[in-house]
Amino acid sequence: MDGQKARADYDVFEVFVQKTQADFHVHVGSVVAPSPDVALMTARENFLRREKAVNLWIVPRGEIHATPYDEPDWFAREMDRKYREVGGYSENGRLWKMYRERALHLEDIVRDLEETPGRGEGGEEG
């Protein structure tokens, strides 16, 4: 009987691993443990036997508040939302890179000036 009671006192703890200081904590699974300190101890060996990390979080499953699976309208996206998409920004990155690379080559700028008719001749037509 004692054994059964002790087992009933175990909680589920969700485990989050942070691999480097620059990373987010990522959910990797869960452990069953009688207390948070035991959960931290066993999570370390159950999820980090081979991989490196800098930090561990354990969170009692009961403390996690989640959306319901049976209300799909929580995530409804029915209308055209192209206006929210940010595809243009990634193109900006490429363009900036191109302009910056071109600007860095002084000879190219000089050649560009020399080869363009009407430039570098004192602006006769101006």
Partner: protein, 264 residues
């Protein structure tokens, strides 16, 4: 004077002899306890603890491998042979770590008392004249940090759990204590080890440092401090062992004995 490599150590037969004796003590302690830990695989109190304890077992065996490789560099046989083919009288582990696990409380308490000792011993070897050993101990000690946290947590939990847990822990203390003293011995060659600077700290000093670390945790666990451990009946560091070690070796080397070239 520091010795930087196995080749240098081999040039001084007296130095090499003392060093080899020391490395066997370190290797055999870790190998025996690692094997005993591994016996919990599949039968620990819960699955998470099972995985954690097995991982600790692998760490201990890994540390044994480090010492066995250092021995091989010094001209001793290869690590597998040393692990599996030496008889009990050639082993230099303390008798405490060859004993069967007993129940979970006894396993935890013995491991905790050993881990504190192992840390104190490793700390004292950081200044060893044999630099490959000193450098290895610095790494091993970092891995042992988590073991200590883990075992300390378990001792406190069992002690504060009351009821059956506490009763079993107190029983374990009574059973384990008479053999704890064997850990601190540096064997018959202690004077030589000191003279060569291989160790910096005598065995009685080692025991006192250990006691100062264990006492506060006993206080936290509200366990009665039984006084310094007595001298054990058998000197494991001199090759005196129990039938338990013979059986441990037989089990551990079952595959190796049937086919020394087997890969597994």
């Amino acid at each position: 004077m520091n010795v930087e490599s196995a080749d240098q150590a081999r040039q001084d037969p007296e130095y090499r002899k003392a060093l080899v004796e020391l490395l066997y003590q370190l290797a055999d302690d870790e190998l025996c306890l690692g094997h005993r830990d591994s016996e919990w695989l599949g039968v620990a109190p819960d699955i998470e603890g099972d995985v954690a304890f097995s991982s600790i077992a692998q760490d201990e065996v890994g540390h044994a491998v480090f010492h066995l490789e250092r021995l091989h560099e010094l001209g001793e046989p290869d690590p597998d042979f040393l692990a599996f083919s030496r008889g009990p009288t050639e082993r230099r582990n303390a008798v405490l770590v060859e004993r069967p696990n007993g129940d979970w409380a006894q396993t935890i308490l013995r491991h905790f008392l050993y881990d504190v000792f192992d840390d104190v011993r490793a700390e004292s070897l950081l200044a060893s004249s044999y630099r490959p050993l000193a450098q290895g101990m610095a790494k091993i000690r970092r891995e042992e940090y988590y073991h200590l946290l883990h075992l300390k947590m378990w001792v406190i939990r069992l002690a504060q759990g009351g009821g059956e847990a506490r009763r079993r822990l107190e029983q374990a203390l009574a059973e384990v204590w008479p053999e704890v003293g064997g850990l601190f011995s540096w064997g018959e060659g202690e004077a030589e080890l000191l003279r060569h600077g291989l160790i910096q700290c005598r065995s009685d000093e080692l025991m006192h440092r250990w006691a100062e670390r264990v006492k506060p945790i006993f206080r936290e666990a509200e366990l009665l401090w039984p006084g310094l451990p007595p001298q054990p009946e058998l000197q494991g560091r001199s090759g005196e062992h129990t039938q338990d070690l013979a059986e441990l070796i037989r089990t551990m080397s079952e595959v190796y004995s049937s086919d020394p070239a087997a890969r597994w």
